[in-house]
Symmetry: C2
Subunit: 441 residues, 2 copies
């Protein structure tokens, strides 16, 4: 019998704040980081996953994965992988640990890391990329993997099954199509708040040349500044390329409405995170106030229960799931089926470190087996840090190409892990030496 | 100049799961625990606080307080205590750490612990219990301490000032009244789900004899069981004593309505935590479905933004603030003033370890300087673990007596901290030896 023998964690950080990559109105100086986890079995199989954070605090997710890891150590691998719903519940609903959330923040993200590492293990065993493994599972098994706790008034198992059954005709054709052409992306690379106008314009033009139909700009620091950048971006990309704008929760509800309307002449496609993602009713009011500009959110939505309400309240036009915020694959299955129930397109959040590699699987699966549509659906793409991954995303003509390697895509190169482990990796040591020994974090 | 010289943390746990104290439909086996923090200054002043947890995972809040503590170490004490809003923002809105919430879960609770320790320091300097320090501050200073971020569409600083000004007449009389008679409590001691019928009845009768006008029962495990216990409790306390019931988030929305209506003949006063506290819209629907039974929630509400929506949506009759879930005194000031704005009574959550000692201050302050009313307002009381505190709560005739010692009330006895520090305290060592060395956690 195969057992879980170790849950090994590493605190890996990249000094992205030096270049202001990833800078927005709220996250002014992130050091993109990964709380990295490797589960090993007594048969020497491994499952890898990571949780993305902004730098300081990465150690807390690492520590939380160690605590939750104690619940997995020694367990029968076949039993865990044979009932992923039970495996997820074992972590998410632990009777003592759940007080720390429940189902939100550090503890929930850590659960997600471990759940994803188990799915990675399972997909590797099956020799398939996660999206294909999921797409080929019977609808009943997908439904069994979903935790319907506290979403029963919006989605029942019977409804979920019906939604998945409805997508069965044509599934194999869509899988073939995905394998040939991939899935459309948009790029946030041009629009970080810390970039100069010149860099913004150049990167916008590059994006169009590379085949992207949509770019995204960070806004919310200063309105005049945003109007200037938005004008420059619109001139650079022309009238037909969509421009998303993203305030990273910077605004009060009324400010959001005023600000977005002041940018309306430049035809923004969506406003992302206009206010706190906890504020379901606020998003509903903003949506009414800024239409026809769409409202998008999700990268900081803590769990399926908040997504449920955003959908019930008619508060969002676009659901932006994140691969490492919620409790892993299982909870994102719930999110995808909820979105399908309410007819809201899912456009995943990505970027950071590893988020592109992980989250692409959910859109590929969504097209193959859930919504069966690409209409108004795009996966975020940011051109950072892919070189550290064993299987980096592959882009062509503004599309993500279908992942082929078995697993969930989170595995990083050992050399990268070694160099950037924090604070003692040689990458950090060198930076510290360069900064006159002052250090940074 | 006085500086913060250390932020010292301890992981303290009590083996309450052995007696099923604190057992409910969701928290089946809690070991009541405190992530305990002591801030020390270069003048050898100290501030103490704690964050309550259910056992496993206490180490994560401890670790998070260490991480956030780095942001305080070396800082000027006068500057911190002179602008508590800035001190709170420094922690809560740290540009990298906020990704971990934002403002929820482990990271937010840890911020709350540190903010509370700073308030403890400030109250000790002033030689006053926290409630009296707050009650005697000018209204302007209370308003300045509130973080209005993301609640601006429900409460403005001007409105907050007006609410506090309205309560100024009679403030000194109410302070005198509080010092003489205290503040009404209700007791949850009888109603834990793990207690026998005989113990339930005996403790209900004891509660009435001790002067309590309200008791609370845990429900949500099994309906027949709940009906039997509710009938026994009603018979034991008579028709005039209120009985709150508490499902600890056990139910789906529809189940909650059915279940509460099935208990209605026993005249429950409120249903607490009928479903996920993230589910604002669910609470609204439940409230409509179970009236005139009131709906109460709050011990797991992550922050002021969720409370704001519960109030905006008309989803609750009773707001149950908790002293160690949100970001400390500052955020609870926001919660109290929000409740006053919407005319909803605040009945704080307590119990656990230390929660009674801390949270009483908010009700005393509320009566003195915010709502100026005790109507339908009670503080939860549970008779556990008070013996470990330097200044345990004092009860008389079902009332909390006004705290007199300077500070926030969280300071524990060194002997208790030493005995129950986890896992190496002698209390835990002995239990482990008694369990044949098998250990537990």
């Amino acid at each position: 019998m195969s057992r879980i023998t170790s849950v090994h964690t590493r605190d890996v950080r990249f000094p992205t704040s030096l270049e202001l990559d990833g800078s927005d109105a709220v996250n002014v100086d992130p050091d993109y980081s990964a709380a990295y986890v490797t589960i090993t079995t007594s048969d020497d199989e491994t499952g890898h996953a990571l949780v993305f954070t902004g730098g300081r605090g990465n150690e807390l997710v690492v520590r939380a994965m160690q605590s939750y890891g104690e619940l997995l150590r020694g367990r029968d691998v076949d039993e865990l992988l044979g009932d992923m719903a039970a495996a997820s519940r074992l972590l998410v609903h632990d009777s003592q640990l759940r007080w720390l959330g429940p189902e939100k923040g550090v503890s929930h993200m850590a659960c997600g890391g471990l759940v994803n590492a188990l799915w990675d293990l399972r997909a590797r065993r099956a020799g398939k990329p996660l999206w294909l493994l999921l797409a080929e599972l019977p609808a009943e098994e997908i439904v069994r993997a979903i935790d319907f706790t506290h979403i029963g008034n919006a989605l029942t198992p019977e409804e979920a099954l019906e939604i998945l059954r409805r997508a069965e005709p044509g599934k194999q054709e869509r899988i073939n199509e995905l394998q040939q052409h991939g899935y459309p992306a948009y790029t946030t690379t041009p629009g970080w708040l810390g970039y100069s106008d010149e860099k913004l314009v150049r990167l916008c033009k590059d994006a169009v040349a590379e085949g992207f139909d949509m770019v995204k700009l960070k806004v919310g620091g200063d309105l005049d500044h945003d109007r200037r950048r938005m004008r420059l971006a619109r001139e650079a990309v022309g009238p037909d390329v969509k421009i998303g704008i993203d305030a990273n929760q910077r605004w009060e509800v009324d400010d959001a409405i005023t600000w977005v309307n002041a940018l309306a002449e430049f035809d923004p496609w969506w406003i992302e995170e206009p206010t706190s993602t906890d504020d379901v009713l606020g998003h509903r009011d903003i949506r009414r106030g800024v239409a026809p500009v769409k409202v998008a959110t999700g990268e900081a939505v803590a769990n399926r229960i908040v997504f449920k309400q955003l959908l019930q309240a008619g508060a969002i036009d676009v659901m932006q799931i994140d691969s490492t915020r919620v409790a892993g694959v299982n909870e994102n299955l719930a999110n995808l089926v909820l979105a399908a129930k309410f007819g809201v397109p899912v456009c995943p959040h990505a970027g950071g470190v590893g988020l592109c590699e992980l989250v692409q699987h959910f859109s590929f699966f969504d097209y193959a087996a859930v919504s069966a549509s690409m209409r108004d659906r795009v996966i975020e793409y940011v051109d950072h840090l892919h070189e550290h991954f064993a299987e980096p995303v592959r882009m062509r003509d503004g599309n993500y190409l279908a992942p082929r390697a078995p697993g969930i895509g989170a595995e990083m190169l050992e050399s990268s892990l070694d160099t950037w482990v924090y604070p003692d990796g040689p990458g950090w040591r060198e930076l510290e030496a360069g900064a006159g020994g002052e250090g940074r974090s």
